[in-house]
């Protein structure tokens, strides 16, 4: 009976996770295909250093250490899930205990990590809700992003507490020599809870042990589903996102190939302006108006964002009170993808234009024109998301498709066109500095 219930719950969770993953994957693949340059080894190295090794977290040591507790705790304690899954499906109890001392070592490590995760969650909850850290309270941190962050932390507190209480009651049952509860494992943390449950009867203990076992695993199932809807998706997408992140120097911006073709036609008097481009890949438009015009890597970046706000807190425009927030650029991109995905689902997978776009309905021109392209945001991002490239692609649309920009920018363009310099000086005066 319990095994059937367990399998049903597992299936429900798996169903929703798969469904949601397909939705997210489809949305990401709405983006343009791009050709990947560079060495695969460099990409793996980046992933190992930045995602697996948390390399960029350590510019802020306290947050980095707390995050490391949760990260390592999450990864290691998941080994425990294997045992829970086997026990749940086959009705066994602590099936891996045949490992003997290894098992004791594992359980002891899980317990210590669980305690560290609890500490980190409490610190993080305090940082979000008591200590006034500016990046957690900005314009884009509306009610859902704030609740999302707190919900995850609170869920982890419950999951870890259930885990420790489960081990404590199991241990007490082992001591009492109750059937089914063979004396296995080592419990350095939960043994501290023993005084609390010493007087409890055998049936109460069995109830608590079973209840926390179920609570722990059901909460994990729920959590698995929840993260796919949440900023917490970064725990998975951080890996592909760093793998596919830019290998060139941060200062490099891509040269639009479609523009290269146009320029070559303009500069080459013998070119046939009516000849089709060799690969037939004339883009619908220059630059990006909506998420369809961004690359799939840029869109994956939006789903990888965990809204930590390091980009925004380092952004010179944001620090001086401008509207621009690189984090909001990523959140807007994701929210627009979600919106488009829902419209597509409602129309049997077909896109029906809703008359909206990423520019205008989500990101305003004022935000875009505040960027100094300084790369503080890309430097700050712990998972190598690149808001700057999205900003530039949106600017490209404004300029190349709509000729929209501040007047002084148009003057600068005209000067470059006419004089080869952003100011109105003639080329003949270029070498005049020699006479200064």
């Amino acid at each position: 009976m319990a095994q059937i219930a367990f399998l049903i719950l597992l299936s429900i969770a798996a169903f929703f996770v798969v469904k949601r993953f397909r939705f997210v994957r489809r949305n990401i693949l709405l983006g343009r295909k791009i050709s990947l340059e560079g060495d695969k080894k460099d990409r793996w190295d980046t992933m190992f250093l930045v995602a697996l090794g948390q390399g960029k977290m350590f510019t802020r040591p306290l947050a980095a250490i707390m995050h490391l507790f949760i990260y390592v705790g999450f990864v290691i304690i998941n080994i425990e899930i294997i045992e829970i899954l086997i026990d749940g499906i086959f009705g066994t109890h602590r099936v891996l205990s045949f490992l003997g001392p290894v098992y004791s070592f594992l359980i002891a490590s899980f317990e210590i990590l669980a305690l560290l995760v609890l500490v980190a969650c409490v610190v993080f909850l305090a940082r979000r809700n008591i200590i006034n850290i500016k990046r957690f309270h900005m314009r884009e941190m509306t009610s859902w992003p704030k609740s999302d962050a707190n919900l995850i932390l609170i869920a982890e507190v419950f999951i870890m507490s259930a885990f420790l209480l489960m081990n404590a009651s199991d241990q007490q049952l082992q001591k009492l020599g109750v059937d089914h509860y063979a004396a296995v494992g080592s419990y350095p943390v939960s043994s501290l809870l023993l005084p609390l449950i010493e007087g409890w009867s055998e049936s109460t203990l069995i109830f608590v042990e079973r209840f926390t076992w179920w609570f722990h695993i059901v909460a994990i199932f729920a959590f698995m589903v929840y993260i796919t809807y949440s900023k917490h998706l970064h725990i998975i997408l951080a890996f592909p996102n760093t793998y596919y992140s830019k290998l060139q120097p941060a200062g490099y911006l891509d040269n639009l190939e479609s523009v290269t073709r146009e320029v070559k036609l303009m500069l080459d008097p013998n070119a046939d302006p009516f000849s089709a481009p060799a690969d037939g890949a004339t883009p619908a438009r220059f630059g990006a108006k909506d998420v369809f015009d961004l690359s799939w890597v840029q869109l994956m970046g939006a789903y990888s964002c965990t809204e930590c706000g390091r980009c925004t807190s380092e952004c010179p425009a944001n620090q001086t009170g401008k509207l621009l927030s690189p984090r909001k650029i990523m959140m807007d991109t994701r929210d627009r993808m979600e919106e488009i995905g829902k419209i597509m689902d409602a129309n049997g997978g077909e896109w029906k234009d809703d008359g909206k776009a990423l520019i205008g309905n989500f990101i305003t021109e004022e935000e875009l024109w505040a960027c100094t392209s300084c790369n503080a945001c890309t430097q700050a991002c712990p998972v190598n998301i690149n808001p700057l490239e999205i900003i530039i692609d949106l600017r490209r649309y404004l300029i190349l498709e709509e000729s929209k920009s501040p007047e002084s920018i148009k003057v600068m363009f005209t000067n470059i066109e006419n004089n080869g310099a952003p100011w109105a000086f003639p080329a003949s005066e270029r070498a005049a500095w020699r006479n200064a």
Binding site: Y252, T320, S373, S408, M412
Partner: protein, 264 residues
């Protein structure tokens, strides 16, 4: 100073059947901005001091297209890039030194795909390597001995291209007390000019970026703010004026600091 006048163009080299060791890409600010022209002259002076044969493009140089590209005008950028590449390739240029991190970044990183591959260095890298090679002799007991100097990292030199140490190493030659701002190197704050901001008013906010950055610099109590970018120079100089600190603090390019101390 007369020496500086003898800077020849690529065309002049070509006419006399010679070719220079290196092309000095002056940049628009270095050519037209009165303050930046002094930086250009300083770089030329250092190159002369080291007896390096170098040329400029003069009238044949054009904007690299950086501000157009970063403002979103990819078409104008690539037109400028291809014209410049035509000129550079026609002169068979191999090595380029730039006086501006924006030109440096664009030519080094964005031109190769468009057919222009050169060995490009920023002037801080070139000057620093000349010092390491012993080709630059500085006066003993120069005027900066014991003075506090702080270095403002230009975004397109530092974060953009990971050049953090060259300017600091060459500054250490001045026997000055090199002090860091609270935000420096990879965490350095922008001066506010990049991404075509130089050519427009800032968006509405509560402060100008250059004021925020000048505050960082003033906090160090340095009497010299060194930088390696003509645009950063303008922004920081304006910041110093804003705080009416012109009497106590000067903004200097690293090339000017070295050129002023040459032992010749």
């Amino acid at each position: 100073m007369n020496q500086q006048l003898q800077v020849r163009t690529m065309a002049e080299f070509m006419a006399s059947g010679e070719s220079p060791e290196i092309l000095f890409w002056v940049g628009c600010a270095g050519s037209f901005d009165d303050r930046a022209k002094k930086i250009t002259a300083s770089i030329a002076k250092i190159l002369h001091h080291c007896q390096i044969s170098f040329a400029i493009l003069g009238e044949e140089e054009s904007c690299t297209g950086d501000p157009a590209k970063r403002a979103g005008n990819e078409l104008l950028f690539q037109m400028m890039a291809m014209q410049n590449i035509q000129v550079l390739n026609a002169y068979e240029v191999k090595k380029i030194v730039t006086g501006c991190p924006h030109c440096f970044n664009t030519i080094k990183n964005e031109y190769p795909q468009l057919g222009g591959s050169y060995d490009v260095v920023h002037h801080s890298e070139l000057i620093n390597s000349l010092i390491r090679e012993g080709r630059i002799q500085l006066k003993d007991g120069g005027e900066f001995q014991g003075k506090k100097i702080t270095f403002h990292d230009p975004c397109y030199l530092g974060r953009g291209n990971n050049v953090y140490e060259a300017p600091r190493e060459l500054l250490s030659e001045l026997d000055a007390d090199l002090v860091e701002m609270k935000r420096s190197r990879a965490k350095g704050l922008c001066c506010g000019a990049g991404g075509a901001q130089m050519f427009k008013e800032a968006e509405p906010g509560n402060k100008e970026v250059n004021i925020e950055r000048t505050e960082d610099a003033l906090e160090t109590k340095a009497s010299v703010i060194a930088t390696g970018c003509p645009f950063c120079n303008t922004m920081m100089t304006d910041g110093i004026k804003h705080f009416e600190k012109e009497a106590e603090v000067v903004v200097k390019d690293i090339a000017e600091l070295i050129a002023g101390q040459l032992n010749s």
